[in-house]
Symmetry: C2
Amino acid sequence: MYIENINSPKDIKALDTEQLNILASEIRTGLMNRLSKRGGHVGPNLGFVEATIALHYVFDSPKDKFVFDVSHQCYTHKMLTGRKEAFFDDGQFGGISGYTNPGESEHDFFNVGHTSTSVSLACGLAKARDLKGESGNVIAIIGDGSLSGGEALEGIDFASELESNFIILVNDNDMSIAENHGGLYKNLKALRDSEGKCSCNLFRAMGLDYIYVSEGNDIAELIEAFRKVKDTDHPIAVHINTLKGKGYEPAEANKEDWHWHMPFDPATGKDTFRDGGENYGDMTCDFLMKKMKADKSVVTMVAAVPVCIGFTEDKRKEAGKQFIDVGIAEEHAVAMASGIARNGGKPVFATHSSFFQRTYDQISQDLCINSNPATLLVNTASVYGMHDITHLGIYDIPMMSNIPNLVYLAPASCEEYFAMLDWSIEQDSYPVAIRMPCNGVIHTDMPVDTDYSGINKYRITRQGRDTAIIALGDFYQIGEKLADLITEKTGTAPTLINPRYITGIDEEMLEQLKDGHSVVITLEDGILNGGFGEKIARFYGASDMKVYNYGLKKEFLDRYIVPEVLKANHLTPQQIYNDIF
Amino acid sequence: MYIENINSPKDIKALDTEQLNILASEIRTGLMNRLSKRGGHVGPNLGFVEATIALHYVFDSPKDKFVFDVSHQCYTHKMLTGRKEAFFDDGQFGGISGYTNPGESEHDFFNVGHTSTSVSLACGLAKARDLKGESGNVIAIIGDGSLSGGEALEGIDFASELESNFIILVNDNDMSIAENHGGLYKNLKALRDSEGKCSCNLFRAMGLDYIYVSEGNDIAELIEAFRKVKDTDHPIAVHINTLKGKGYEPAEANKEDWHWHMPFDPATGKDTFRDGGENYGDMTCDFLMKKMKADKSVVTMVAAVPVCIGFTEDKRKEAGKQFIDVGIAEEHAVAMASGIARNGGKPVFATHSSFFQRTYDQISQDLCINSNPATLLVNTASVYGMHDITHLGIYDIPMMSNIPNLVYLAPASCEEYFAMLDWSIEQDSYPVAIRMPCNGVIHTDMPVDTDYSGINKYRITRQGRDTAIIALGDFYQIGEKLADLITEKTGTAPTLINPRYITGIDEEMLEQLKDGHSVVITLEDGILNGGFGEKIARFYGASDMKVYNYGLKKEFLDRYIVPEVLKANHLTPQQIYNDIF
C-alpha cells in the first residue's frame, strides 16, 4: 500500500503516474470505509480523489494554499495531509471533522461548511501575500453547485482585480446537491461540449483567464494542467470535468441520493441505518402538495436542499411549475418569494436555519419592509438540529425575530405546526416565518388555533399559580416536564404557557401574570442573547417578578452531544428546579 | 409645457418623438429644481430620463410592471405617474420619497433602497403572473454598479429558468457610485465597444437572450428596442448605454461627486449647504492613511461607498494597493477581509450599518467562526444616521452583537473611537466591529484606554449611588445629561457607566452594582429588541434590581425627524427622569 507511507504531501511527489493511480484506488478504499460506516459526503469526495492528488503533487501545500468551497470534498486532502487514520482506523473516525479545520492541520486555512465562500476567502489570502511581498500559489476550489451563490459570483467578479497569482479550480460535475439550476450551468455545459472552446465563456466574461480539462478524473491530465497554471502571474480559472461519485456504481448512478449519505452496506448500497416512522420532511411535502393541487397560486421554493422538506425527485416532478429549486441562491429565493407574494401568489420557501443567515438583508429589505405575505420555513432550527460548527440552528431567533414586521412562529406540536403553516399560506397581511419542529414528531390532543392573526397572543395551556413557565417551540415539552416536577415537588401546579409568537410579547398576559405569580421561567431552543426570554426579562425589568431565562449560551458549538449541551446549559427539568427552588 | 398635461403614463402615448424630446427637457427642469434645492441622486436620474419616457411610451404600466433597482433613478417615473408636483412645486417636495414606494402609487411595486434586488423581485412578479395564467410584461431595471452584487447575479442566473416573458433592462453608464470594480465591467465595456456583438457575453453566459442599444439617451432608438422585446416569450437582457448626469455639465464631468449631491446652485454647481468642521469621514481617512503608510500590511476596504470613510478619489490614489473598493459586493468584502487577516494582513472594511445586513452570513461563518482579526467599521449606525426606511442604522446591534466570537465596540467619544480602531488593527485575536460615532464629533478630556483586550470590561466614569446609568456609544451623552438631571433633582449623584462592549456583559461590575444601587437604566442607540439593554435585564432578572431599558421601538421608520423619534421613545433626559422618579 502506498497510502501507508503518505504522511504529508511531499510523500506523494516521488510517485509516478501509475503509482498515483494505485494510490487513488487505496484512497477510495479509505473513503468507502469511513463513509459506509459513518455516513458523509459520498459523491463529492469520490469525484475529487484524482484532482486532490494532482493538486498536492504539483503544488506545495501549505506554502501554496488550497481553499475548499463548502469543504465537504476535502477528505482526500485530509488523507494526504497526515490524517489518513481517520479513514482507515475505525476507532479514529471521530478525530476529524467532515470539513476543513485549521485546528487539525496547517494545510487547512478555514473552518468552512457553507457554500460559495472559497473564492473570496482565497482572494484575501492572495491579497495578504501581495501586501507582504511574499510568493506562493493560492488556489480556490469550487464546485457542486456553489457557483450560483451570490458570494461566489461576487468573488469571481472581483478576482480579476487581483492582478497577481490566483487560481480558481472549477470542479464541474454537472450537479449541485440535486440537479443544477440557473443559466450559468448551460454555459458550463456549452464549455464541456466544446472542450472549453465555446467563445461565450462565463469566466472570461467575468475577466478571468481560462483553461479546460476534459478528464477531471485523469491524474496525468490534471498534473499537466496544474503545471501550466502553477506560478501564474494573473487570475485564471481551471475548469475540470469530474464524475461525481466516481468509482462507486450506486453513487455514479444516483448522484443526488449519494451527495450525502447515511451509513450503508458497500456491497448493496442499502442503508444500514433507518429512521423509520413519521418525519416532518415527508409530512411537509404531503401537506404542500395538497395545498398546491387545490390552489394553483401556491408555490414551494427551495435553494438546493429540496429533500429538507421531502421533495424528492418524483415529488418535484409531480409539483411541476409549482415547485422551484433556485439552486444555491438564498438571497434570490427570499426576494423572489416577496415578488411572488406581491403579485398574488402564495410562496413557501424552505431551507435550513443556518442557510437563512445567507439572506438576512433580503428578509429585512425585500420582504419585511414591503410586508409581503410570503412564508419562510426554517428547518433544523434547534439544538436537536445539525451539529457541525458551520451548520448550527441556534442563532435564528436573535437574527430573525428582531426584524420589524416579520411574524416568527414557534409551534409546540405537529398539529400546531401544520395549523400555522396553513394559516400562513392563506393570510395576506404578514411575512411569516415558522420554526419547523426538530425534536421528533410530537402530537397533541389539545385543540390548536387555526387563526394566528391575533399577533403576539400567547396561550395558557395549564392554569396554575406562583410560577409561570413560558416554553417556546421545541422546548415546550421541557416546560411540560418542568411543570410536572414543580407540581410533584411543591404540591402547587405552575402555570404553563405556549407563547407561539417569537417576534413579540403578549403584554396583556404578562401583566396579568403579576397577579398570583412571583416567578417566570422562559425556555427557548436557541442562544439566549438577543433571543426570546430577554424580551420577557425586559418587560418585567422594573417589576417585582423574578425572571429566569433558560436557553443556550452564545458560542459556536462543534460536533456536540445534545444531552451534554443541554446539561451544560442547565436545561434539564431537574437542574432548572434545583436552580430556582 | 407638455409636462403640465401628463398625469398618468397614458398621457405620453399621443406625443411624437419631437414632443417626447421636449418633454425630456421639461423633466430635466423639474429634476434640477428639486435636486438643487433638496439634494438627491443627481447623476442616476439625469441619465435615465429618456429611457423612462420610452419605457412608459412602449409599455402599459401598471399592467406591465417596472421594478427599479435601488430605485434612486425613479424620479422621472414618479413625474410620469402622477407625482410631478413634487418636482415643480417646492411646497410639495416632501410628498414623495426618493425611492419607489407602493404607498404613493399603483405604478410602484416595492419599497427599494438597497442595490441588486430588482431582478429577483421582478422574477417573483413574473412567476406569480405565470402561476395565475395572466399576461403582461415584467421589466427589471438595473444599473449604477448594482450588477456586481450577489443578489443581482443570483437573480440573473436564475432568470433564464422562467421560460416566459421577462425583460432585464441593463442601464450601463460605466459607473457605480464611484468607478466600477470587477471583471464583469470589462465585459460590459467589450460589449459597448462592439455594439453588443462581442461573442463573449455575460448575459448570454448566464442563459439570457440579449440585445444592445448604443444610444441609451435617444428616445427613438429606445422605443424601437423596447417595441422589439415587448411581449417577448422568454427572458432577455436589453443593454443600453446611457450617460450618467446627462444634461448637466458638472454632473457629466464629475460623475462620482454628482451621484448623490447636497443642495447646490445650478448655475455654478457649488454646494449651497456646508457642514464644515470636523467629521468622522475625513478623520477616519487620515487615521487609516497614517496606519497604512507605517505598515504595508494594513489595507482599507470599502464596497462602493468609499467616501463614507473619507476616501475621495485623490485619497484612494494615494493609498494605492492598500485601498480596495470591491464594488457592490459586501459578502465578498467580509470574506476577503477574513482571508487577509488569516494570512497576516490587517484589513479594515467599512460600510453603512444598513449595508452590513447584506453580509450577515459572512460575518458569522467566514469571519467569526474562524476568529480572524479583521476590523469592521459600522458607519451611520444610529438614530442620527440615514432616515429613509431602506437605510436605517438602528438594527445592527441585534443583528451583529449576538454572533459568537465577534467583539463589537461602541465608542463614546472621538478619542475612544480612534483608540479602539488602533487597538483593533494591531491586535490579532478577535474579529472586531466598531460602531462609528454618529452624533457629531464629541471630544473628551477623560483618559481612554488604549488596550481593549480585557473583553467586556465596562468603565465607571462617575461613581455615584442608588441609580446606575449604563449609556452605550452615541447615547453616552444622553446618559451624562440624565446623570446631571438626577443629581440636580434628587441631590444624589448616580453612577454613570460607559460599557464600551456591546457583545457581552461585565458580570463582575453588574454584581457589584447590587451594592448601593437599586435602579439600573440602560441607554442604547438602536432598537431594544435583541439589543444591549435586554442582556442587562436578563442578568438582573431574578434579583431585586429594577432595570429600565431605553432605546428605540422595533419598527421601520421612514423619513423621520430625530427629536420626534427620540421623544416618542421617551429618550430625553427629562422624560426618563419623569418615568422613573
